[in-house]
Amino acid sequence: MHRPATWPRRPRNRKFQVTSMATAVLETGERETYLNREYGIKSWLLTVDHKRIALLYLMGITFFFFIGGFFALLIRLELLTPAGDLVQADTYNKLFTMHGQVMVFFFLIPAVPAVLGNFLIPIMIGAKDLAFPRINLLSWYLYIIGGILMVYTILAGGVDTGWTFYTPLSTEFLKTNVTTAALAVFVSGFSSILTGLNFIVTTHRMRAPGMTWNRLPLFVWAHYATSIIQVLGTPVVAIAIVLVALERLFHLGIFNPTLGGDPLLFQHLFWFYSHPAVYIMILPGMGIISEIVCCFSRKRVFGYKAMAIALLGIAVVGFLVWAHHMFVAGISLYAALIFSFLSYFVAVPSAIKVFNWTSTMYKGSISYQTPMLYAFGFIGLFTMGGLTGLFLACLGVDVHVTDTYFVVAHFHYIMVGGMVMAYLGGMHFWWPKISGRLYPEGWGRLAALLVFVGFNLTFFPQFILGYMGMPRRYWDYSHSPEFQILNVLSTAGATILAVGYLLPMIYFLWSMRYGKPAPDNPWNAAGLEWTIPSPPTTFNFEEQPVVTWEAYNYDELDQRREEVPVAH
């Protein structure tokens, strides 16, 4: 394994003449940072600085989060009453389809890796940038092109395939913008592939001296595992989606049973990616939670190696369980048996992680800042999401609850309860580093509480609805008025959740102007990212860092702090 012996000499290029980053001061008297180094739209759109690209992603992701959230609110409003009275059936079908596609492909998959991962991975391993900065920018452009196609799809009248694009409905029967939606997913998929590729190479080749594999923060391990899935899984769904588009344009018959094709083949290809894609969404969240729990417990993570191996284990075994989405689709009994069995395997590393986070808190010195509140929320909701996953992996029970609201509740507990909680926790944790400002702590705690309460009120009733037998994707349930009371609770929860999500956006924006300037290390946290100024300079490190300590060396940090009291 190669490791650079010396930090490169700063290029003495005429275009770039900074003598030393430490002393670089702007004419206004401010310290130079990656944010104020240059201004103007061009300096953002042509940047190859991973931190600026992370912020570009942040804008896109926030935009799509609120678009998808808006669709979700409309869905919940429609379901307030049993009759389909707010929107037309077709409109409703478009709403849940576009909610799914926007949230999965344009929010959940890129959110943590492309924003926090992009910003933090090079810093955490002591590098100046990702291995391929220009490819990183290309990834963002692909994401945006995909995003524009998605927005076009929405504006041109929407698409109503369901986010799963099941054939032959999507290929032969629908008259909506399926092809552009497929193209949007295809293009954004390449953004995801290139991000993953960049992270893997960066983790392998760009680590600072002393930053061994056993010293990597779990955040980096989590992204490494995620990237493996992105590189291996995404191309398969890309080609499946291309075949859907071709089939739709030319009526080839590959997935059309009347022409001898097999619609189940599409489901296999689709879930071969889309089940691992669930782990693309949740693994980075697990990385964030590991950082937060350690920091606010002032402790080394319990069982570092087990945690890292669990991440990789989930990534690998996650590839072998896809057909558990198809237990009632018409696959053979024995195939179902094998996939059910393997699905339980993937639950074991998840269980290890939950127990290890909990044990990390044992004999810690725990404080309850906002990021830690989100971490508590994550552990609770992820546990419930994971345990209900066991119900779905259980063949006999899955037959009853699959394709009902039970499934909807289950994956929202993982995706929203898990991943969005982690994302918000991470945003709060690293916001001082990213923006150089502190967010208002009181508001932060309030928002975390609102999100937790609103989330449970929204999705817990859906477990019960599912077991009662309410199928998902139903616009009208006037035949079963007994479902209404739970739907009302769910809609009420969704409004609280919406407030909980709007608050952070407002006070983050507010803090950019009015927030207190952040110290370099507001949490006294471990990790290279906290050794550099907030916000960092363009090349992150003044000089080549050499890592001589293990990850999560909170003991040393606290000792040092006791010796030299830090003024806040």
């Binding site: 003495r12 180094r37 940038d129 590729l197 899984g233 995404t234 191309p235 590959i254 001898g260 363009t538």
Partner: protein
Amino acid sequence: MHTSPPATVEGEAHENPALLHHFATEEQQKNAASLGMWLFLITEIMFFGGMFCAYLVYRYAYFGDFAAASSSLDLKLGTINTIVLIGSSLTVAMAIRCAQVGKQKAIVGYLVLTIILGVAFLGIKAIEYKQKFDEHHVPGLANFHLEGHVPRHADVPVNQNHAQIYFSLYFAMTGMHALHMIIGVGLFAYLTYKAYKGRYGPGYYTPLENGGLYWHFVDIVWIYLFPLLYLIDRHP
């Protein structure tokens, strides 16, 4: 002084101009580039893998019809193309070898030869596609029709739907392969230009090497496509 993005940092004049700002050494940069390329190729394998998987499923289900449809392909052109492509892989390897030993002119020569062979492959492929159009073997068109019968069953006519699936996969797979070839030819035109400018030599030939990896990969895909598509049930 703070007006230009760091993107334009080109490195020091007396150092290797190819060394980008965020790498410490040339070796680190080269290792990163080739690891990146290998990962990209793994992605590509998975990309083609989806289609190979579909192919295998239907070939197993509709073997007779696939065999009949396969026999309608022009074996002679396919064979010539295979040789052309293997030849082009050789010329790429030679170009890289020339860079290693510093034969500037020969690099350009071999690269040009590679491009010529690549274009020749695409030309022959175009002729084959043209034939398919003329013979009404293009799936999705109303006039699709494949004459003939299932091998060893003179009385079983080819199932048109299944033949259509074969040709869908044929066009999807060879089309995706041809697209990779077109991108490859573009890439090699760029590399040739850079080589012509004297950019590559024993000290620095990473882009050549990675371009070569890509070319070999596309070649290998064809090595699988050729028997799977052309030789399903051929007998001398």
